[in-house]
Amino acid sequence: MKRILIVDDQSVIRWMIRLALRDHFATDEADGAQAAWAKIKKQRPDGIVLDVLMPGSMDGFQFCERVKRDPDLAAIDVVLVTACGEENDRERGRAAGANGYFVKPLSPIALANHFLASLDVGSRQASDASQRKPI
């Protein structure tokens, strides 16, 4: 089972994402960049769900850049989740090398489908909700 690390300072969001992913992926959680980095070093995940705005010295963009710069970790599928839907923020996400960019409120089903597709996990869920685009 592929592993996905959920990084968000809000537990309710981590819980929601975990619920969306739990049928097809093994999940792990971290509430900040530091904890996340420690977990990545310990056990390399296949995908990361990363909140852009996190307390601490490093935000999601910087964290993503760091992951993508590391040759061992660059292949990890990083999805940025943010409450900022502005175009320049998306641009920053793209520049940081993110594989996906979801704006809150996000569709957890769409997030799950992204990983199902990118990590090539079969039996993609087909539901009305999966067709929704993030708002």
Partner: protein
Amino acid sequence: MRFRTKTILGIAAIEMALLAVLIGSALQILRDSNEEELTRRVTLGGKLLAAAAKDAVLSQDLATLNALVREAMASGQIDYLRILDSQGRVLAERGKGAFPTAPFKEDQSIADVTDGCFDRSTPILVRDIHHGEVRLGVSISPLNQLIITARQWAAGIAALEMALVALFSWLLGTYLARQLVALCGASTRIAAGDFTSRVPVQGSDELAETALAFNRMAEQLGESRQCVETESRQRLDALHEAEEARSRAEEGAEQLKAIFDLSPDGFVSFDAERRVKYLSPAFVQLTGLEAESTLGLDEAAFSQCLAAACTAATRFAGVAALRRPRKAERGEPGAAHERRQQIEIGGPGQRVIEIGLREAQAATVSQILYLRDITLEAEVDRLKSEFLSTAAHELRTPMASIYGFAELMLARDFTDTERREFLGTIFKQSELMVSIINELLDLARIEARRGKDFNIARLDLRELVHEIAGGFKPPDERPSPEEPPADGPLWVRGDRKKLTQAIGNVLSNAYKYSPAGGMVGIEFLAPDGDAALLGIRVRDQGIGMTEEQLARVFERFYRADASGKIPGTGLGMSIVKEIIEIHGGHVELDSKVGAGTTVTIWLQAQATSAESATMADTATGAPS
């Protein structure tokens, strides 16, 4: 002394002197000739009588001598006659009156006469032998009388002449003076501007000619005066018009100067060669460019100068760039709008400035650049959009849970317990959204009305806080906040509902940020030496804040806890601050990480009713 008097006196003096000389010398001549005549006659008479009496004397013929004497006396011209013999005896004598008693003394000339009688003795000589003598006297009184008469006549004639001369000179002087006075008067009138004034012309003498000449001069003067007057009136009118135009221009210039000087907008005018001609004080203030270094620069150099003062992000594109679009649009109706540019002036007094250009038609001003300080507007815009994006961000977070859990429940199958849990989360997050929206609206209302809708009344703060604390439901069934022991009222002026909201927010934070429990206490403060303030302090033993966090407490949506474990909107303290500041108070914060936070609300104290009554009475002097 008047001319006439001078003339008369002058002529009189000359007349008098000349007449005196004339009369004097005439009288002298008269006297001399008469004396000479008298002398000659007496001498001749004496000689004739001596010759006639010679024979009778020699013969002592007294009868002949008496006859001779009688004859001689008959002429009436001799006063007395005496013929003496050689011994001096009187042979014959005769006189008009008494003979002089004084001894005979011959007078050589009339000047020698002392007794009014010219005495002369003529010897009777025969071959130079003295035979006797003839003594005769002739009175000189007729001569004197003649001289006196002559003098009287002369004096009379002289007086008459002088009178006539005086009269003539008086008349002449009067006439001359009158003419001169007339000339003088006419000149004065002309000098005063009366060019119709003329001198009366009488006769054909030099004065009349002078008067004629004067009148001609006056006429010409009048004519030229009229010419000059017409011309000068025209000139004056022109001058007046010019003066009016100048004063209108001055007025306009003064108003413009005031506008330029006082306007907060900056202005730069360019001359016909598009060189900087004028900078308004506001321009200098806005851009920090000095007038000395900028005046006279051409458009490009000026643009460069201004661009150098800008921040790199919003450099001034140049005056030409402002002009170009208008040129391109020329001819299109309604395309006269001016293109404007926003620049930011760097340095300590960073400003956002909007620049526009207006092309002028005047000969000396080709264009005017105007600068408007929009720092405040830009800042307000920035804050507004920042606030909006923060608000949107804050709303997205609870929305994410609501949306996500709802979607999951629709798409997936979950157990009833799980579904209940999700619904609980959705409900809680909806509540949070509602409170965010409510608090945003609250904050917006407080800010917009600035206390105008506050219902200000005198309140007992102690009673109010007791009521709030009593009505406050601490979370997790924790004990109610600790109040100080009951005491006298603490009066403030305020809006009961708003103060309740503010104090309630502070109490709520105290519980929320002390999740591990611990006491929440309230105390009242009255600072020493400042009776005008009253403080309410709320103290918790919670997680506390760092200096950095403390500094941001009043920021909209700022939350010291970013984990989401502690519910909240990040607007509560902003609302507290707004409410308290509108009440004229302020909020103080003190916090230590791990030790807790104290929030102190300072309000303006209201004197107690008794005190205020006393003070009012003292002030008005009314009896209590």
